[in-house]
Amino acid sequence: MTRPGPAPAAAVPAARTYAYGPDDIARMLPHRPPMLMLDRAFDVVPGVSGHGVKCVTAGDPCLAGHYPGHPIMPGVLLVEAMAQLVAVVYVADAVEGPGPAPDGDPAEGVGYLGSIRDMKFSRLVIPGDRLLLEARLGPRLGTLRQVSVRATVDRETAAAGTLVVTSGRTTTPAPAGRPGGGVL
């Protein structure tokens, strides 16, 4: 006589995902060329995680001077591209979430970059590269949230690390003894 095995675990419903093209992203982010670093986003779980794509071309304005004859995408702009994906994940939560749709322009809800931690740049990014961006939101406190980010090219890590971002455009510093406020 065989003992019955454990009951199968209840299937966890997969979170609904969203994809956004350039027009959607232009509505979700306040950034505009030459500082718009995200071509499209996909597998976005609002408020949780997402993937994005940035295609690097020889025509990108920053490459004209970085560097002449040896164009490579600046590391700070890799960080910016990943941060913009984080903003899309945030805005998607406001736009697609169960609550009432935000009043006004959703792009106005995009916050600021608070810190960059343990960021490692492992590969040069050059014209012709297709950057695949990943972001996963982590713990939060007040308006601050930690986010794990990664950028890869052909499955090879170009940059990875941790960001802290603010939700909304909080500019008021947290008073002494009042942790968790805005960016100081």
């Binding site: 608070g114 982590g138 406190l141 601050l144 003894g177 009042r178 942790p179 968790g180 960016v183 100081l184």
Partner: protein, 97 residues
């Protein structure tokens, strides 16, 4: 009586060790230029204490979550009062089922 005394002494030593461990972890994570022994257990973490800011707070949230699987939320800001307050908070949450 000696058993009770030994138990209390053991508890106090364990607490002291935990405080030092957390102080050291905070100092290392935030890159503070201070020795753990120079930080008293009741010294304020913010303002005139260790002069941490709101970004440092989130680092402590992550550190405590990773080390003790205890989550500090917006309602628990009193936990950031001092190292002692932080460990009191952690131990209270650890004791919960």
């Amino acid at each position: 009586m000696s058993t009770t005394y030994d138990a209390i002494r053991s508890q106090a030593e364990a607490r002291l060790a935990k405080n030092t461990e957390v102080k050291t972890a905070i100092i290392e994570r935030l890159g503070l230029r201070v020795e753990p022994s120079a930080v008293s257990d009741n010294q304020p973490l913010f303002g005139r204490g260790l002069e941490m800011d709101s970004l440092d707070t989130l680092e402590i949230v992550v550190l405590i979550n990773n080390a003790f699987s205890v989550l500090i939320s917006d309602d628990d800001v009193a936990a950031f009062g001092s190292v002692n307050a932080l460990i009191d908070f952690v131990e209270a949450r650890e004791d919960q089922p």
